[in-house]
């Protein structure tokens, strides 16, 4: 009993580290391609979305400018 207790106390815990090369085939399968393509797609989407917001804001400012100019032209012709 003493011998089995000593064997338990001095036994090493199993090492959880397994080198990638020793993994059984099919276990390390986090594919890189979707992450890579996702990253590049995000860059494109972010740029396009930002350009779209600028275009919308420019359109609104231009519409306000036109309305203001028409209003002031109408006022000056009414004088």
């Amino acid at each position: 009993m003493m011998a089995s207790l000593l064997a338990f106390v001095f036994s090493q815990p199993p090492d959880p580290f397994v080198p990638v090369k020793d993994l059984p085939p099919g276990t390390e399968q986090l594919p890189a391609a979707p992450l890579l393509i996702g990253a590049y797609a995000f860059v494109w989407i972010a740029v396009m979305a930002y350009l779209w917001t600028i275009w919308r804001r420019l359109d609104k400012v231009d519409a306000d400018l036109r309305a203001l100019e028409q209003r002031s032209a109408a006022r000056s012709s009414g004088r």
């Binding site: 990253a39 995000f42 860059v43 600028i54 804001r57 203001l68 100019e69």
Partner: protein, 231 residues
């Protein structure tokens, strides 16, 4: 004071060629990146490097513009300086977001986790939040918020070098700043595609800056007309 018609004409001359150039470069970049040599330990996922690092380079450029323009605005109060400061801050948030999204996609494969609260990642997130704060101050701060926002931009600009050097100062999982300068010696095959990609991002930054400053100037003109109408 906004940018005058002469400057607008000058901008229109180089704007269209720049749009074409940036479009061609962003179309060509994936082919160059695909043909670049694979990094031995990380493999395919390392190719995120070609647009993760340039997005931070573009962010630092935008921060430099916002910071310098904020100094000019606080000193002289010129409206064009304010336009550049706002444009720089907005674009810094955009490129920062790219870095903060592409980084975890790379980290998930290379480190096994999406995010680590280490010095570089945390300080980069805080830098992004400082410039988000700049935009919030401008949007909701009411009259006179431009000066408060300019002070926020200066705070962010002063923080940026610490974020950049954080990987050299503290122990982090993130690669050090020496990776990019040493690239021509350590991996000559990667240096060309990386330089191309970095140039594409910096030109994209200039393009977005020109468009955003144009918007700011038109908004300023609209404000002037409203004020003239009221008086």
């Amino acid at each position: 004071m906004g940018v005058g018609p002469h400057a607008c004409k000058k901008m229109n001359r180089w704007f269209a060629p720049l749009v074409v150039l940036v479009g061609v470069m962003f179309f060509a970049a994936p082919f160059l990146i695909a043909n670049a040599p694979l990094q031995t330990t990380m493999g395919l996922i390392q190719k995120i490097f070609y647009f993760h690092v340039p997005s931070w380079m573009a962010m630092y450029s935008a921060i430099a513009v916002s910071g310098a323009a904020s100094v000019v605005y606080l000193a002289k109060g010129t409206r064009s300086a304010d336009a550049y400061a706002a444009a720089g801050a907005e674009i810094a948030v955009l490129f920062g977001l790219m870095g903060l999204v592409t980084g975890p996609l790379w980290g998930r494969k290379a480190w096994g986790v999406w995010w680590v609260w280490d010095a570089r990642l945390t300080s980069a997130l805080l830098l992004e939040l400082i410039f988000v704060a700049y935009l919030l101050v401008r949007k909701y701060g009411g009259p006179g918020s431009e000066k408060l926002a300019a002070a926020t931009a200066l705070f962010g600009t002063a923080t940026a070098p610490f974020v950049y050097k954080s990987v050299d100062i503290w122990r982090t999982v993130h690669p050090k700043t020496s990776v990019v300068p040493e690239l021509p010696n350590t991996a000559p095959g990667m240096a060309g595609p990386f330089a191309f990609s970095a140039l594409a991002f910096l030109l994209l930054f200039l393009l977005l800056l020109a468009v955003r400053v144009r918007l700011a100037n038109r908004q300023a003109r609209l404000d002037d007309l409203y004020l003239a109408e009221e008086s």
